[in-house]
């Protein structure tokens, strides 16, 4: 098989470089508020790209990804002032990945809608366990004092967003990724042609948890306050899925577009009409599912193809 020309990857690398330049400019010249918006955007990008690496490609919709985010946050706050920050972040990612392997091993045998509600149940299960642990430790919310600056966190989150994007990009074009796509198409057939679906799913599921864990750790530094009911909130899981629907979860630009769209919409509306923002979001979600199921990215691609003809 011919090696794909390097030039095929140029658009992707180019876009990545442009994003890095834009981020650098933001750090240097942006005001605090702009940087915080940037941080939020990068956070969602990192979360959704990681989610899409598993759920987008395999079709197994995880509605409990908040659990990895929460676990990462918990590792960070527990290790606060015991571990150096960078170690805490890495550990957060690894623990989240380990939890994913642990939870995934029995769960990935379950298919379709069962898997969806199972992931939700698992996230809530872990959440209440952490609530109990904190209660047993006599802890009622944890306050972190002396956390890194906004721009430092922005830089770290940028790394995660870039990493998650590269991972999805590479995965999608790799053999492992093809295995997942085959599972999405027809799992039984995939098994029949010799793909070890169980291992493929588990591996990528574990992988898809690492960056969300690190994101959770970083955000706990941003919020400086940890409370399990909030950090494991199902809203995070639902927002990830919403962004994936809006933007498309098939390839790299999808989550990026979805996250940008959501953050832009949010900024536009929450200041002036907060309830309206949520209502509009709901309407958009419904409309996209019915009329643009491949998301913004999918629509853009089909228009492109239409034009090319």
């Amino acid at each position: 098989m011919m090696r794909p020309a390097l030039s095929e990857h140029l658009p992707f690398v180019g876009a990545l470089a442009a994003a890095l330049v834009a981020s650098a400019a933001l750090i240097v010249w942006g005001d605090e508020y702009a940087v915080s918006i940037g941080l939020t955007l990068l956070m969602w990008v990192a979360l959704v790209q990681s989610w899409a690496a598993f759920s987008g490609l395999s079709g197994y919709i995880s509605l409990g990804h908040a659990v990895f985010y929460g676990v990462g946050a918990y590792v960070m706050v527990v290790g606060w002032q015991i571990l150096p920050v960078w170690l805490g972040v890495i550990l957060a990612g690894l623990v989240a990945g380990a939890i994913a392997l642990l939870l995934g091993w029995p769960s990935l045998r379950v298919r379709g809608p069962y898997f969806v509600i199972l992931t939700f149940g698992l996230a809530e299960f872990v959440k209440y366990i952490v609530v109990s642990i904190e209660a047993a430790l006599g802890r009622s919310g944890r306050l972190l004092i002396g956390t890194p600056s906004l721009r430092e966190l922005f830089g770290a989150m940028l790394l995660l967003a870039v990493a998650s994007t590269i991972i999805l990009y590479v995965l999608r074009r790799s053999r492992l990724g093809s295995g997942l796509l085959a599972v999405r198409e027809d799992e039984i057939a995939a098994e029949a042609i010799g793909i070890n679906t169980a291992r493929t799913k588990l591996l990528v599921f574990g992988l898809s948890a690492i960056i969300p864990g690190m994101v959770g750790a970083l955000m706990s530094l941003r919020f400086t306050y940890f409370e399990p009911m909030q950090s494991f909130s199902p809203v995070t899981s639902f927002t990830i899925v919403t962004i994936a629907v809006l933007g498309g979860s098939d390839d790299v630009p999808g989550p990026l577009l979805g996250a940008a769209f959501l953050v832009a919409l949010s900024e536009l509306l929450w200041a002036r009409a907060p309830e309206l923002y949520m209502i509009i979001l709901g309407v958009l979600l419904v409309s996209f599912v019915l009329f643009a199921p491949e998301g913004i990215y999918g629509k853009l691609r089909s228009w492109n193809r239409g034009e090319a003809q």
């Binding site: 969806v116 509600i117 709901g282 979600l285």
Partner: protein, 296 residues
């Protein structure tokens, strides 16, 4: 321990089970026949609650009357939502191929819309009213009148539904579709009309549950979600599409909630509930009683 054997605990469990069963039945119907994951189900409960609250406090209409009005409104909404949103979903082969995921997302959007529309109109302040809350003593069991009514209405509604599905023509058609969708279409069941019926009934049951809920607890625009979760846990336990199973599931969940906390500390309640839920999904995903809903 005498606490465990007390009639009071049993009564509490039965009342909770009746409410859960009512909420779960509507959800199970929609899922069983159409495989749509209605995570907006709890919002219909919330709506039923607000209709009752508003009727009672602003118009002086008794909640007993709302038990007829709210389900009618719920049914109407159900039909509307089906025709506007879901017909399209089910008729498009591309969308129908991933019907569970897509319905989940649509219903999620619907629930967000409902919650925030209510928050806009009613504000998020908790609402409550007092109705028939005299405490009635039966032997050594004490229960407020409205909880007894809740038990009575919920149980009758569930049993009527079961009877309807077992003995009526329309009900048999629904059961046929649950078991074998394509075959049912072949023998001439009008799937579209049936879907409308199911949506109307499912939403009506949820709204009725909402009326009952509003009598015994305060409501806010966000009160629906925990009911949705409980309903999903129940229909998973009982088997997706298995209507009788959801009664058992409701009993089980209520028992865990009421008795579980007597045996071990109350703080582990949620862990216990989700733990059982996960265990069932992993070990016997068809539910404790369920026969497998026709696989894709």
């Amino acid at each position: 321990m005498s606490v465990l054997l007390s009639g009071q605990l049993l009564a509490a469990a039965l009342v909770l089970a009746a409410l859960y069963a009512l909420v779960a039945m509507g959800l199970n119907l929609v899922y069983g026949t159409m495989r749509l994951l209605n995570i907006a189900h709890g919002e219909l409960v919330m709506l039923g609650g607000y209709i009752t609250y508003w009727s009672f406090t602003s118009l002086g209409i008794s909640p007993l009357l709302s038990m007829l009005v709210a389900p009618a409104v719920g049914a109407g909404l159900g039909v509307l939502i089906y025709i506007v949103l879901f017909r399209r979903l089910l008729r498009s082969p591309k969308l129908a191929a991933r019907v569970e995921a897509n319905s989940l997302l649509i219903f999620f959007g619907v629930s967000v819309i409902f919650q925030n529309v209510m928050a806009l109109f009613f504000t998020s302040t908790q609402r409550g009213y007092v109705y028939l809350d005299q405490v009635i003593q039966i032997g050594n069991v004490a229960m407020t009148a409205n909880r007894l009514i809740l038990f009575g209405v919920a149980t009758s509604a569930c049993l009527s539904c079961l009877a309807f599905f077992k003995y009526s023509r329309a009900g048999s058609a629904v059961r046929a579709v649950i078991q074998q969708r394509d075959a049912a279409a072949l023998v001439g069941v009008d799937i579209d009309r049936l879907n409308i019926l199911v949506f109307a009934l499912g939403f009506a049951l949820a709204a009725l549950a909402g009326v009952l809920v509003s009598m015994v607890q305060e409501i806010t625009p966000f009160v629906g979600f925990p009911f949705t979760i409980s309903a999903f846990v129940i229909i998973t336990l009982g088997g997706l599409g298995n209507l009788f199973g959801s009664l058992l599931g409701a009993l089980l969940l209520a028992a865990v909630e009421v008795y579980g906390t007597a045996v071990i500390s109350s703080s582990f309640r949620s862990i216990l509930v989700y733990g059982v839920f996960i265990a069932v999904l992993l070990i016997k995903p068809q539910g404790l009683l369920g026969r497998a809903v026709a696989a894709k």
